[in-house]
Subunit: 251 residues, 2 copies
DNA sequence: CAAAAATGTGACGGTTTGTAACAACCGGGA
DNA sequence: TCCCGGTTGTTACAAACCGTCACATTTTTG
């Protein structure tokens, strides 16, 4: 799923001249020609406030994206997996810091040229648009989680999210958790202790089983979905799927 | 800040024929030709799960956008003000419900035609892109608020947000709060009681002064910014602005 | 004007936090 | 290979913040 189409990149001058340029068919192929850069665990790709020069594609590894309040409180707004884009925004400064969780490989694309390519290609545009919409949907899910879910629901939701992101292949319930408990806590708006306690409880309930420190087995996916709220119980693991239209909320 | 440029709206048939069409220069003018629809307070523009047929522009009034968990918990993910767009996403279903807070006027645009217009116009595209990026930035701010801020910081942040949204004109510290306490609570991830108590406390501190039930005066904008966290203290109302680079976070 | 809804305020309790001590794990170096 | 220090993860307990419940008060609606 990747690098094809290196081709000649149009330099600054060429913009609107319809000389039938390479015109990559997919976002991946856009990055395909770029060299791969490696980031060691804990190293930053860029910092909040840095001038936003580049857009990145995650090739391998996991990144955390976060902001820090003036007194040190950290909020992780998302984790990035292979295939995700990083730094897509029109601001001239990055709004957040991006750090490698584990050893990570990225491809870099210069921001202005990225915009040009997007602007030029009616193929790429909807793909980018779709990416942004997915990101927005994820952000809304996260707002729901942070605003109203209990600690247990948050942890369950998180595990479910990871399980789904990895388990494109079904019935492979061993999920890797490359991030630390602190990462999870700062993503879920909890403390490490609460995360720990909650995972212990889920283990005692036989919903999950620890595999190693950064991997576990999901034993009851349906139960997990139930605990996560969202009524995402439309999985194939039992668990009653209630899709009842909700009562109208009072003004 | 609004309806200029009515111009002839291109009717259904005309789509890709380059007959030098109106080609609106701004998103506003795109909606300019559409009729204005009015929604009474509490009425829904659309529901979560509805087929996403239209994109809307808010002409007047305020909307709340929310999702509801299976057991009734509500999370308001945002409030929309005049000039904002509603329903911009590529999903075939709306991901949230949109309701009028007060009497609201909207213009509607058919989804497919909206996409066509956007695709065709190199002027409109960056505007839409900017809208999405702003929305994304707002969502991230909200995640920070929900994940790590105290009740007082949340309320202060909210008031500050409203004050800035309205107060394009400086030094006009009377801000209207059209939404109910329950709306505020469901937006801030708190209960109505906590919102009430916190606003009382802010009143006692002379930071705000109630005007009517849905309006108040911000007496100390700088203090409010300070209480809101974010170190947004780069306002012009005193309050030390600390912009110290944060210590690097351990792994 | 009466009834319903929204808001404000207090006491109390629960979930989560913070502190701390301890256990488990990882990575080097001898 | 084993040992050892530092990091990470777990558990216990007291405290804090916010939610729950209850009710008074104000505002809105019919």
């Amino acid at each position: 799923m990747l690098s094809q189409a290196t081709m000649s990149q149009p330099h600054g001058a060429v913009r609107r001249f319809a000389t039938v340029p390479p015109c990559p068919a997919s976002l991946k192929s856009l990055f395909g020609g770029q060299p791969v850069e490696t980031f060691e665990p804990g190293t930053a790709v860029f910092w909040e406030g840095d001038e936003a020069r580049h857009v990145f594609e995650v090739v391998e590894g996991v990144l955390r994206v976060f902001r820090i309040l003036s007194d040190g409180r950290r909020v992780i707004t998302g984790f990035l997996y292979p295939g995700d884009l990083l730094g897509v925004s029109l601001k001239d400064q990055y709004l957040y810091t991006a750090e490698a969780v584990n050893r990570t490989k990225l491809r870099r694309y210069e921001h202005g040229r990225f915009q040009d390519e997007i602007n030029r290609s009616p193929e790429l545009r909807p793909q980018l648009f779709a990416c942004l919409c997915d990101e927005m949907a994820a952000a809304q899910d996260q707002m729901v989680l942070l605003a109203r879910k209990s600690a247990e629901e948050r942890v369950a939701s998180f595990l479910l999210l990871i399980a789904r992101r990895l388990g494109g292949d079904v019935r492979q319930p061993v999920i890797e958790i490359p991030m630390t408990r602190l990462d999870m806590a700062d993503y879920l708006g909890l403390t490490i202790e609460t995360v720990s306690r909650t995972m212990t409880r889920l283990t005692n309930c036989r919903v999950i089983a620890p595999s190693s420190r950064h991997a576990l087995v999901v034993r009851k996916l349906g139960k997990l979905a139930l605990l996560a709220g969202e009524s995402d119980a439309d999985d194939k693991d039992g668990a009653g799927g209630r899709a009842i239209q909700q009562a109208v909320w009072p003004n």
